[in-house]
Assembly symmetry: D2
Homo-oligomer: 134 residues x 4
């Protein structure tokens, strides 16, 4: 995500209830991790290994999460936290399934790394929101 | 969703851990409600009313939920419940925002009804899974 | 797609240059065929047969086509014809690949039928637009 | 897209009819441009300007194009060229509509630039494929 575009988004968020304190660097890291994870899962799903259905689900969930973060006007903090929980769960499952093939498939190993990175980025953002809500 | 296709899916699910007891009529109702909600939200988002970003988010989440239910091999019961929770939250928010325009926009009123129907179908499926897990 | 929602869309299209003469029954048939094809391809892609990558591409293209037809304000007739051509090409390819497995997979046979129906519905709509443009 | 993942994709393509001569640097540039364009269009669509429906269509088409290029096994050269044509047409339209607001909206100006970059990257890849097919 381009720095100027993030800047424009950041200004919009000042006027959204409960979003004023959003950590923009965590948000940007999460956006980038979702985008990378969608791409890795899409490649991995073409390998016809047992992880393929989980990879397809994970690619869709990461794209939906990424887009929703690019349209913060369309989420409340509560909705966003529920979406992040779903994305974390889906990345965890996809990572677990790809790890079973990581020894003999480079693509699965890279996909599992992308899932791990996305899960971590979503979790950090989720925790910062939960802390801000207290 | 075609009856023969649902039948093929149903057979596959017999061998998925925790999915054997899935209520196929609730699943089919949920699939259909997600599909209808994606379409209504997509139309509603073009009206340039304040609900548009929520409608776009809801359309994406409903599509992701629908596709994941068509690829049950790629979800565990726990992952599916997290996804259903996110879909329920997003439908609730979109319904609330569209209801504010329901008096003067037929499209918003229809979209709110689709969101309500999808929220209810997801909730029923979610509850049946929680009950089966006990 | 709900009849009342189609009616609301139809009214909007009266004011779009080059869209006034759109045959709404062909448009509705095309919308429904894209939706059904996305669902069939999504199920078929989980079978781990050689058609899976084409099925995933076809599911995405059909969803993109369906959504664009629900947001006619965002297309010109020329753009819409290019999108229909891409959807026709993708459905044709997916049908051809699934037909190779139609003898031993019910899901592939049903998917090929959905691709054929979608290809035909897109082609009819495409031809009616080309005729109107003359 | 990660360099190691591109490398894995590149190896797969050696065995796909008509894809052996694909220029991997043009493919990577096109993937990256589609991803950036999807993101810019998604942000731009939340501004409630007249370009919003075109932005939503363009975001979906760019995502579908990007994913299809990550699953080259699921395209023939002919299908891929039809998809690229559709993506080029959609980017052109979105750019034209956003340019009308470029003077008073930074986001529209950035979105138009992303559409232009994506259109150019798709066109270059399209031309290299047409040349290889001769």
């Amino acid at each position: 995500m381009d720095a100027m575009m993030m800047d424009a988004m950041s200004k919009d968020m000042m006027s959204m209830p409960g979003m004023e304190t959003m950590d923009m660097s965590l948000l940007q890291a999460c956006l980038d991790a979702c985008s990378a994870c969608e791409q890795a899962c899409t490649v991995c799903s073409t390998q016809m290994l047992s992880c393929a259905p989980a990879c397809m689900n994970c690619a869709d969930m990461c794209n939906t999460m990424m887009r929703a973060m690019l349209r913060m006007q369309g989420m409340t903090p509560a909705t966003m936290m529920a979406m992040l929980d779903a994305c974390i769960a889906m990345c965890q499952q996809c990572m677990d399934e790809c790890m079973e093939h990581a020894d003999h498939s480079d693509v699965c190993r890279m996909c599992a790394q992308s899932c791990k990175a996305c899960m971590d980025a979503c979790s950090k953002l989720r925790q910062s929101m939960a802390a801000a809500a207290m």
